[in-house]
């Protein structure tokens, strides 16, 4: 093999006549039972004495279809099946290996030259979930075996790194990346090439690169899927970035909650060392690189650059005021560049495609693609990658398949606790960094939670405030105290009233009026990004769903029926058998009645805890 071009990684030849069975074993696959499917496949191969290989791949992105099993056999195209629990394995394999699929319902097939296509099965490029996607970062996820460097190399891996080290100066790399228009995918959206140049401008001394894989946003799992499904792509990106800024040591700061991702990346580093991709004097260029793993310990604020560096240094993960910027004085007081996993995973494509081609994807200000974790009340939850500028409607209704259970769309929460929600009238918004800001949301890291009419927006705002308030590091007062006060105001409007006095109503009203002002102060005066963006979920729900707030404040009702304490409980006299269970469980003795006769609830005493509805064996308690 040509050592100079791909580090001498041998290509694993596919044996003709061999059967390949692929099972998706990412964290979500395993959660859905892929472990048992793998066992069943192994047993099948053993029993039938097949010339077959079981390949454990990463996540293809269709979480609702997990566990996914794919088969390539008998000169036919690779074909994919959804929800293959252990009991279905035998039947499906029997049919596919016999060359006919009568009962098994396949999802799609992969078109491949020289292989016979299955009849009346959609190809992957026709399948609705994939047809609107542009997969660059995820191109290998769920397709290649992440445990083998040879498979990544066979898919064109490490060519970009070889090209960079052989024929480009670090300045040229920075230029190319800047011209490609690649922007940070972690949320801020700063131009990556520009950021690198700041670090390059700081002399030739010790520099560090940090890969931020501390994916703390609740509702986001892009980085996990990339690392689990294609760890070598991340390593290649890290090596390219380190070469460009002149760093000889890189850290991967990864959440300890992702054990599988850690296992995969550690194994990938070992393999890369064997082929001299990481180490001393890479490709005789004099460039050396060492990569260390740092496990995060579960603090949301550590996604912030300066807090993250404190954490790597073994301190409390609290942010520092900037300047000095990390690119000037960062980790151990040396110039440091911090890039998100997805940003780094884009680099091989930027180099391979060239900046003209890369920047032809996307919109005027936002280039390339973005990976989103689509979850919540949508039919097809999963991991998707779309070109910048794709409309939200396309994502929710075409890729996501619309809202489940025939309910109506209400909003999409994008950008996690720092972002905002997008209501129905803005469904046709083209997603890029700038347009999202115009509707009060932000790109964030890419969590996208879909909500239907059964979701209460006040409750969502309260949920995020509760999260932020717990995760605030406590260093600066606006964030520490302000978020607490905001949470209290929200709690007050969504909890039941203890008295009917007008004073209390007035207080609730005053709270909401000052909510906006308080939010503005927190935004303007907080030290780091966590505080500066903390009020966003509240501001955005206030902006788009004021009617829901009003219903909570004036009518003391939760239109979506979520805020438990605002619900009205009634006992159906016909269903009640007078078992007295509810009366004993009521914490405020609001339920009256005699044994074996229908009970009733004293409305003014009821605090709406819902205990009675939970315990009633006859479903006699109705909620409105």
């Amino acid at each position: 093999m040509d050592k100079q071009n791909n580090f001498g990684i041998p290509v694993k030849e596919k044996q003709p006549g061999r059967i390949y069975i692929y099972v998706g074993t990412g964290t979500c696959g395993l959660g859905a039972g892929a472990g048992k499917t793998v066992e069943a496949v192994k047993k099948y191969i053993q029993e039938k004495k097949l010339n077959a290989e079981l390949v454990e791949v990463g996540c293809i992105g269709m979480c609702t279809a997990e566990p996914v099993m794919e088969v390539k056999a008998n000169g036919k195209c690779r074909i994919s099946f959804a929800k293959v629990s252990e009991d279905k394995v035998n039947a499906i394999l029997d049919e596919v290996l016999a060359g006919k699929i009568d009962n098994a319902k396949p999802l799609y097939q992969y078109e491949e030259a020289g292989l016979e296509k299955w009849q009346s099965v959609m190809t992957m490029n026709e399948y609705p979930f994939f047809v609107y996607q542009t997969r660059l970062v995820l191109s290998n996820c769920g397709i290649i075996n992440p445990a083998y460097i040879e498979e990544y190399a066979a898919a064109g891996g490490y060519k970009a790194l070889a090209k960079v080290i052989n024929g480009m100066t670090p300045d040229e790399v920075c230029d190319t990346v800047e011209k490609s228009g690649l922007r940070g995918r972690g949320g801020g959206g700063f131009t990556t090439g520009k950021k690198w140049k700041f670090a390059r401008a700081n002399g030739a001394g010790q520099k560090y690169l940090i890969c931020n894989a501390d994916e703390g946003d609740p509702g986001a799992f892009m980085d996990r899927a990339v690392i689990e499904g294609d760890p070598h792509r991340l390593l290649e990106g890290i090596a390219i970035a380190s070469y460009a800024i002149g760093a000889n040591k890189a850290y991967i700061y990864i959440r300890a909650e992702y054990p599988l991702a850690i296992k995969r990346i550690v194994a990938a580093i070992e393999q890369a060392k064997q082929y001299g991709i990481i180490g001393k004097n890479i490709l005789n260029s004099g460039f050396e690189l060492e990569i260390a793993i740092k496990k995060g310990a579960g603090a949301f604020v550590c996604g912030e650059e300066t807090a993250l560096m404190n954490s790597i240094e073994g301190r409390r993960g609290m942010p520092k005021p900037r300047p000095p910027y990390p690119a000037v004085k960062g980790l151990f007081d040396k110039p440091t560049i911090i890039n998100n996993v997805e940003t780094l995973a884009n680099l091989p494509d930027v180099i391979n495609l060239g900046f003209e081609k890369f920047s032809s994807i996307g919109t005027k200000t936002s280039k390339g693609t973005k990976v989103f974790a689509l979850s919540g009340k949508v039919k097809n939850t999963g991991l998707i990658e779309v070109a910048m500028g794709t409309t939200l409607r396309r994502i929710v209704f075409d890729i996501g398949g619309g809202i489940g259970n025939d309910k109506k769309y209400k909003a999409v929460q994008i950008g996690g606790p720092s972002g905002g929600c997008i209501p129905e009238q803005h469904l046709d918004i083209q997603i890029d960094y700038e347009s999202l800001k115009t509707v009060g949301a932000m790109m964030g890291s890419g969590g996208m939670v879909v909500m239907d009419e059964g979701t209460c927006m006040v409750d969502i705002a309260r949920f995020f405030m509760d999260f932020i308030q717990k995760e605030s590091c406590g260093k600066c007062i606006p964030c520490r105290e302000g978020t607490r006060r905001m949470l209290e105001i929200l709690n007050r409007i969504s909890s039941s009233y203890r008295s009917k006095s007008t004073a209390e109503t007035l207080q609730r009203f005053k709270g909401v009026v000052s909510l906006r002002r308080l939010a503005q102060v927190i935004k303007d005066t907080s030290l780091c990004g966590l505080g500066q963006t903390a009020p966003n979920p509240v501001l955005s729900t206030l902006r788009w769903f004021p009617d829901e707030y009003e219903a909570h404040i004036y009518e003391r009702k939760c239109p979506a029926g979520v805020c438990k304490e605002l619900l009205n409980y009634k006992i159906d006299e016909k269903k009640c058998k007078g078992c007295t269970l509810c009366a004993t469980k009521c914490p405020v003795q609001a339920i009256k009645g005699v044994k074996k006769a229908p009970h009733y609830i004293l409305e003014d005493k009821c605090i709406g805890c819902g205990n009675c509805a939970d315990v009633c064996p006859f479903n006699a308690v109705s909620v409105s």
Binding site: P218, E257, G447
Partner: protein
């Protein structure tokens, strides 16, 4: 105690930057961080034990009381919240009769609330000793926990 010593020996001449890694290893081995362990770690790194404690309490991952044989993690991420994880948490609390952060009297279960486990496509999720259970309804909780109870009894 020798367990902690063995871990500390793996980090000779360690500096402060190894602190979190050491804390993680000790917790993995012992299940929690005892006051004694914190003091030993401080001695090894030549750091006041107060500083060690300060770092440990900052991060959500570290526990200071002995966890149960099974650690039940209930995810309260956004996607899980939207799909009703609060009711699941209530059901787990009712079933185990403990609050988050506590361990049952028999020492079999401890309950922990986590921000997000990154399995949002399967929401709501609970994990027992790292084993994931997807799309959990409040009614399923009893069955899941009982399956662990019977496993331990065998």
């Amino acid at each position: 105690m020798s367990q902690i010593k063995a871990i500390l020996e793996k980090f000779p001449n360690a500096k402060r930057e190894s602190l979190i890694a050491i804390l993680q290893e000790v917790q993995d081995a012992e299940g929690f961080l005892s006051p004694d362990a914190l003091c030993q770690i401080g001695e090894h790194l030549k750091l006041p034990s107060g500083k060690v404690y300060g770092v440990a309490t900052f991060y959500n991952q570290f526990r200071f009381i002995k966890p149960g044989f099974y650690n039940v993690q209930v995810c309260r991420g956004t996607a899980c919240h939207v799909k009703g994880s609060l009711k699941v948490l209530e059901a787990v609390k009712n079933e185990l009769k403990v609050e988050p952060g506590q361990t049952t009297k028999d020492g079999l279960f401890s309950l922990e609330v986590v921000a997000c486990m990154g399995a949002c496509g399967l929401a709501p999720v609970i994990a027992v000793n790292g084993e994931f259970h997807a799309s959990v309804a409040p009614e399923d909780v009893k069955k899941i926990l009982n399956s662990y109870r019977s496993k331990k009894a065998v």
